[in-house]
Amino acid sequence: MPVELIFLIVGLLMISFLALGLYIHSILLLSGIIGIVLLESPGYVTGFLQSDPFIRVASYSLTTIPLFVLMAQFIVRSGIIEDLFTIIYNISKGRKGILGILTVFSGGMLGAVSGSSNASAAAMGQVAVPQLIKRGYSEGIAGATAAAAGSLSSVIPPSIVLILWGVATETPIGQLFIASLIPGIIIMVVISVSMLIFLKRADKHVSSEDIKPFEKESVPVKRASLAIILIGLIAVSVFYGIYAGIFTPTEAGAVGAMVSFITALLLRRVNISFIVRSFSETVKLTAMILLIMIGAQIFGRFVSLSLLPREIINLLSGLIEYPVLILIILCLIYFVLFMFIEGAAVILMTAPIVLPLINTMQVDTVWFGVIVGILCTIGLLTPPVGLSIYSVSGVTGIKSEKIFQYALPYSIIIAVVVCGLLILFPQLVTWLPERM
């Protein structure tokens, strides 16, 4: 059977599975298994099904997922976030847009200490979403904004995605990190502006009677200052620890969780229920993300085995006279791949094939790496495999469709605006590293 036909069959199956409402992990697993069986033979799936579930989970870099979620649990359950948002709410006189912007910029800050978007999205979801909803955000906007804010972790250094790209293509990682700073800030601005537009449009549908008038919410001064001090303390200890070389960004998850736990202890919030609930939420989310990743791994094996991405990209070299066209098509291919397959797998799968093409076109690998990093980040927000969305949905209980409703526009806006800007003005990426 020709590979193209197999892809058509598997593609149609996936769409029907999605429409039927099958679980995402099972859609990936089943499509992957069917694809591999069609390409090879039933016996051929054995190796993958035996070892991939364990190998996928046994990963040091993924330890950030449970640890950052645990940290967020400890912080949320100690009640300081609630106080912090109330303070901002009071200061901003109820203009709720400011809270959303605060969420986006907190996501950026978290991004500077976390290299993994899933972990950050989950943390942002737990911390910010309930507060945003309480202040009048719809579930969809609140969830999508938190997910988008968390996704910044893959763009703002340190970033696991950029490290992978750097090693797979021998691009200096330090330069990639510096180069992604300006795009990271642009994305933060783009998310904030889009959020304000979404808010405005959502409010149009609400009759003015339903809009709650601003009422200053009271927080005792002592508690408010304590909240600010404690959050500051947690942030400073994690930031300082990373930038002073006391621990690595991966270890930061553990240290952050420990500091938050000690904070909760000092606030006398810790009891059996505090611990059991924190555990329960943390393991639920970790298990959910990893089970989807296992499915995505098997599906990724099918895509690898088919050699189709290689063939498509090889076809592209026929368009070598139109470099901008190739770049736009490459962006589209990456957008689609990141929609369905987990980020790291996509990078490892495509780097060997894309790199020669990029080199022939004399495109800067730092610049292209940053573009790939951004598209990878976006992939976490798009259905059907939008791990950041599922993370937020998992911790908040908001249905993932509601979040996708806003996350998809976010991702398209980021893709078009940010990637467009970077293609038109490559200096946005290359300017900083050249000066270092």
Binding site: M1, P2, V3, I6, L39, E40, S41, G43, Y44, T46, G47, F48, Q50, S51, D52, I55, Y60, S61, G115, P158, I160, I163, L164, G166, V167, A168, T169, E170, P172, I173, G174, Q175, I242, Y243, A244, G245, I246, F247, T248, P249, T250, E251, R301, S304, L305, L307, L348, M349, A351, P352, L355
Partner: protein, 369 residues
């Protein structure tokens, strides 16, 4: 797809061969059928070792068989995770693993890290030739088994040599090597047991972490340096951070090995087998890595990395290094012997092969009997 047919075809061919030559040798005549092989490696396609071995080896085999043999290569663990190569070769997920990193799996390949043992002097070429000799060595280490039989044959694997990584050294950030103390109390990243012992014997501490962590850890000072080959610096971005490195000592080589299941290997026509073996042994003589190392030294100098020759260090420091090297060999041997492995035999065999190829070891190592 095509691959499927090829596999069935070669499978059928084997059965014929087995029927025809009932003798142990399944090597058959070449009936000219196309052979498409899946090749896996955990290394990236732009890795120095891929450039020095995997790419040229595949090209040589494809050319010399006039395109009868073709490869679909999967890099960076795209199809098979590192450490899963043997099961993948056995169940036919892939046909060739080229190369694997045996020192990452000491439980499976307990003696392969003999290549990591520290030497006085050696280079990419010396270690490559010595390793090729080690792989084809007939010397029986234990129970009538050679090194290759013990390490790879017991897993049902056919092994061919791949050039090891050029000589390792210690590279550090903002730190100068001069006296004994300058070798102590450092946090260094290591990637194998022999180096853990060495760093420990020097009086420093070894830290293990994946490469993706190494860059961040080094750039923030969570570790002070790394035990690696200079040629690793640029690809991993360390050349921009490391300021000082040792020379005049060779802290061993990181070995790689080519594997195929004996079953699958025996299905290949004899002339194809010969082409594959010859290509691998010829590549042991390749100067690609030597040249890469020269380029790496040039780049390191451009980046302002300062090299301290061990001979220019204080005499006590030189003795300290030699003592640490000797202790490393002894501790390594003892640990292997405790596991019931021929540690001493393997170490002496490796030492002699290194010397045969023009490398040197410290005097005290020569006295090992």
């Amino acid at each position: 797809g095509n691959n499927n047919n090829d596999e069935e075809a070669s499978g059928a061919q084997t059965n014929n061969n087995e029927a025809n030559n009932s003798e142990a040798s399944a090597e058959g005549t070449n009936n000219g059928e196309e052979i498409n092989l899946r090749l896996t490696t955990g290394l990236s396609p732009s890795d120095a070792n891929t450039a020095a071995f995997t790419h040229p080896w595949m090209e040589m085999v494809e050319e010399r068989t006039d395109g009868q043999v073709t490869f679909d290569a999967f890099f960076s663990q795209e199809l098979v995770p590192m450490g899963e190569e043997i099961p993948a070769l056995n169940d036919g997920t892939v046909d060739v693993a080229a190369p694997i990193l045996p020192t990452y799996e000491p439980a499976r390949y307990p003696l392969s890290d003999v290549v990591l043992l520290p030497l006085e002097s050696s280079d990419a070429q010396i270690s490559a030739m010595a390793f090729a000799e080690l792989i084809k060595s007939e010397e029986e280490l234990q129970d009538g088994q050679t090194f290759t039989e013990m390490e790879y044959g017991t897993h049902g694997m056919k092994a061919l040599p791949v050039q090891p990584v050029p000589e390792y050294t210690i590279g550090v950030i903002d730190h100068e090597f001069s006296d004994v103390e300058s070798l102590q109390n450092l946090q260094l990243r290591t990637s194998g047991r022999a180096h853990e012992i060495l760093v420990d014997q020097l009086g420093s501490s070894s830290v293990s972490m994946p490469f993706s962590e190494e860059f961040e850890a080094m750039s923030r000072g969570a570790i002070e340096g790394t035990v690696r080959a200079i040629s690793d610096y640029e690809p991993y971005g360390f050349d921009e951070m490391i300021t000082n490195a040792l020379e005049g000592v060779s802290l061993g080589h990181f070995p790689f090995v080519w594997l195929m299941s004996e079953e699958r290997w025996n299905e290949l026509p004899a002339d194809v087998q010969e082409v594959m073996e010859d290509a691998a042994y010829e590549l042991a003589e390749s100067t690609t890595k030597l040249e890469a190392m020269e380029a790496a030294y040039e780049n390191a100098e451009e980046q302002g990395i300062e090299f301290t020759d061990v001979a220019d260090m204080e005499p006590e420091a030189q003795e300290h290094i030699e003592q640490a090297v000797l202790n490393t060999w002894e501790i390594w041997i003892e640990a292997k012997e405790e596991e019931g492995l021929p540690g001493k035999e393997a170490a002496i065999l490796w030492r002699d092969l290194i010397i045969e190829q023009g490398g040197t070891v410290h005097e005290s190592i020569m006295e090992l009997e």
